[in-house]
């Protein structure tokens, strides 16, 4: 029960931070808040027993993303303009998706139960097979690199794709051939 309680508290904090992000117009503030957000969600992941994920989220979400966002802000502007459009459509979209999700989640199995399909069908297989088949005690690693190794290859490719894409966009060119893109100096 204490697990569930910690979980609840952390999630409530998360919701508060989210409201802060929505309302803050200073972009530096937003970046700081989103860093805190990432750390909080990493803690939630710890509570949910996802230690690998928590570690990644902490380093990527709180670390890498924040560095990138700050870098971007350094290169652009620090403040958000007031929006021209009335937020009716966005509210409608957000509420629509929310409602769809409410509709969808009402029948979901309750939190933390061991007898739901997720914990019955494929998941336990990994727990049971990892040691005898691969000899790796960290089941996340064995699933990541072996059972679903192809996903991870795809994930590596995603990183590679994004990296090349960013370099294509941002790398300083040796020669000035920017005549091709108007508006640039």
């Amino acid at each position: 029960m204490s697990e569930a309680l910690i979980n609840t508290v952390l999630l409530s904090l998360l919701a508060c931070i989210t409201i802060g992000i929505v309302r803050t117009r200073n972009l530096f503030g937003v970046v700081v808040l989103s860093g805190i957000y990432s750390l909080l969600i990493a803690s939630v992941m710890m509570v949910l027993d996802a230690v690998d994920v928590a570690m990644t989220e902490a380093s990527v979400g709180a670390g890498m993303s924040t560095v990138l966002l700050l870098g971007t802000l350094y290169l652009t502007k620090g403040h958000e303009m007031k929006a021209f459009k009335p937020p009716l459509l966005p509210l409608f979209v957000a509420i629509g998706v929310g409602a769809m999700l409410v509709y969808g989640t009402i029948d979901l199995p309750p939190f933390g139960a061991a007898d739901q399909p997720v914990n019955q069908h494929v998941g336990p297989d990994y727990l049971a097979r990892s040691k005898p088949e691969t000899g790796i005690p960290n089941v996340v690693t064995s699933v990541l690199a072996s059972y679903r190794g192809f996903d991870t290859l795809g994930e590596t490719t995603v990183v590679f794709t994004a990296g090349i894409g960013i370099l294509m966009l941002l790398r300083r060119r040796r020669k000035k051939d920017d005549t091709l893109r108007e508006g640039e100096k």
Partner: protein, 135 residues
């Protein structure tokens, strides 16, 4: 009883709150950096959606060791690891685009960009001389 119900579904409620807020920021805000932050929130909500059902109360992380019987489900962890990586990759590419847009337009507000040409359509490409020789 009601409290239990509340606890049982609290994760999902927070999930959908995060998701709605993220989507709201993406659609309502015109600032391109803010939009990407909102997109991040939106993606983060998915992490909770996947991880919550995998948790078994009283379980431990899925690292097999003597003395533990109940482990949480490892599969969602693997999936979310991938999702986090995809998220940061998207964020990075998006921010790179924002930097370039700022250089090209001098602003990162969508409203200002679109006010320069109706939905990008009318803009003249008089300067778009090609680097190579066309003839």
């Amino acid at each position: 009883m009601i409290f239990e119900e509340f606890i049982n579904y609290y994760n999902y409620f927070i999930t959908l709150f995060l998701m709605s807020s993220g989507l709201y920021i993406v659609v309502a805000r015109g600032n391109m950096v803010k939009k990407l932050v909102g997109l991040g929130l939106f993606q983060t909500s998915v992490y909770l959606l996947y991880l919550s059902p995998g948790k078994i109360l009283g379980g431990t992380p899925p690292i097999l060791a003597e003395g533990y019987e109940v482990y949480s489900n490892p599969l969602p962890h693997v999936l979310i690891l991938t999702a986090i990586v995809v998220g940061v990759a998207t964020l990075g590419l998006g921010l790179a685009l924002v930097v370039r847009i700022h250089e090209a337009y001098g602003t990162i507000e969508e409203d200002e960009i679109f006010s320069k040409g109706d939905d990008l359509q009318e803009e003249d490409n008089k300067n778009s001389t090609l680097p190579g020789d066309a003839k």
